[in-house]
Amino acid sequence: MPATPAAIAEPVIQTRQVRKTFAAVGGHDRCVALAGVDLDVTQSEVVVIIGPSGSGKSTLLRTLNGLETVDSGTITVAGRKVTDQRTDLPALRADVGMVFQHFNLFLHKTALENVALPQRIVRGRSRSQAEEIAMSFLKRVGVDDRRDHYPSQLSGGQQQRVAIARALAMHPQVMLFDEATSALDPEMVGGILDLMRELASEGMTMAVVTHEMGFARDVADRVIFMDGGGIVEQGAPEELFDGARNARTRQFLSQIH
């Protein structure tokens, strides 16, 4: 991915004082999901976000491509101001790959169609071109022999591979992973993490929410610890894992290990 000096200087993701509150649901109180988050992710950087359940990790990722609106603050992603009303969100999302915990493959489409359809209707590629690109990505993630299978006919690991191929085939500028391995059988996890590792080494800009601390330690350029809707502490993996300064971070890490 050839990066101009200007692209290196300007972060691919930039959030400033992002706040988000969810209205009260049922017996629960109003809930502050994001309490003023500042985040910068530069070109080719891999940022891993960790933190306890409910700390706002998913909400933060989802605000980055406008799946979730914010109450205040600004977000710029891939050169577009997400928080601006006038921004063409579909066009932005096409440039931002997102991989979900539960894959979210189109259940009425085969693996090949899942990867080809968005290219055709969003990118305007011809069917033959889209399918050719789809096949090359399916091959890359190792499921090209399953091209005509429907999601219900694929294992969780295979579905996640197709989902990653679907995102990559759009040629995104940044990839967001929200617990991409959490719904997988243990024996499938390694393969998906290897794929993500490969992407990182090829220079893909990535924001990764995960509970896989081994992955964070090996692959992350920076690890961010979130709690209570805010970034509590961040740094290089060895800094955070071996020398956390904040008591909450240390407590969280001691529970994980």
């Binding site: 491509n65 799946l67 579909p90 066009a91 932005l92 999302r93 096409a94 440039d95 931002v96 790959g97 997102m98 979900f100 539960h102 894959f103 979210n104 493959l105 189109f106 259940l107 009425h108 489409k109 085969t110 359809l117 968005p118 209707i121 969003v122 429907y150 999601p151 219900s152 006919q153 989902a163 679907r166 995102a167 759009m170």
Partner: protein, 239 residues
């Protein structure tokens, strides 16, 4: 072979297909009109029903309420009354319709009647599409239109094929009421035979068999459409 003769005689006595054959032209006309009325009303009520379902689901309170009122008014009044209202009142309201053939009036009435039922089925179908499917479509950059066309509606319609088949079967049977506004449908063909020959079996059994055959074709068609919309594994995936 001789023992078959009394059986054959008995069959011809109960159901004389030669008489039915004499009325082949009338039956052909009746089938044509029944299929025209049902086919046109089906297509139009699916379009109007999808529109009504969209209005019901829209966040605009007024539009949603208007659609709801229309649906409840139709569901609370007899179809026969609705047909008579369209047949007798519409030409007074819209003079141009006075020159319409009865079949058109019938199609209009059946469409207005069936669309609300289709709308409620389609609405449940749209709501049955998992949130994750929409998020997957959002995340790759699909617009509202693209999501509706490529993801939500195909899955919604595949999910509701059995219910749509049931409602369509009712629609096909409801076309028989159009004989009351002088549309020459299948039932009218059967009545003509019976009144001229006093042969109720030949008249009405034939009609019943034809209705059943139409239903079987619809059943096959619904399986075909489901497969087209959502692939061969759909019901296994969702069952």
């Amino acid at each position: 072979m001789t023992f078959l003769e009394p059986v054959a005689d008995w069959i011809v006595g109960v159901y004389n297909f030669r008489i039915v054959a004499l009325y082949a032209d009338e039956f052909a006309r009746g089938i044509t009109n029944t299929l025209l009325a049902a086919g046109a009303s089906l297509a139009l009520s699916l379009i109007l029903g999808t529109l009504l379902a969209a209005l019901r689901l829209s966040s605009n309170r007024l539009l949603s309420a208007l659609a709801e009122i229309y649906i409840q008014v139709i569901r609370s009044t007899p179809l026969l009354l609705q047909i008579y209202i369209v047949y007798f009142a519409l030409p007074l309201l819209v003079p141009a319709t006075a020159r319409w053939p009865e079949l058109w009036i019938g199609i209009l009435a059946l469409t207005l009647h069936t669309a609300p039922y289709m709308a409620e089925i389609i609405r449940s179908g749209i709501q049955s599409v998992a949130r994750g499917q929409i998020e997957g479509a959002l995340a790759v950059g699909m617009t509202f239109r693209q999501r509706a066309q490529h993801i939500v509606l195909p899955q919604a319609f595949a999910n509701i094929m059995p219910a749509l088949l049931g409602q369509t079967a009712i629609l096909v049977k409801d076309t028989s009421l159009l004989s009351l506004i002088t549309v020459f449908d299948l039932v009218a063909a059967g009545m003509l035979l019976n009144s001229e020959r006093i042969k109720p079996n030949e008249g009405f059994l034939s009609v019943a068999v034809i209705y059943f055959a139409i239903y079987l074709l619809l059943l096959l068609a619904s399986r075909f459409v489901e497969r087209k919309l959502a692939g061969p594994a759909w019901n296994k995936a969702t069952a």
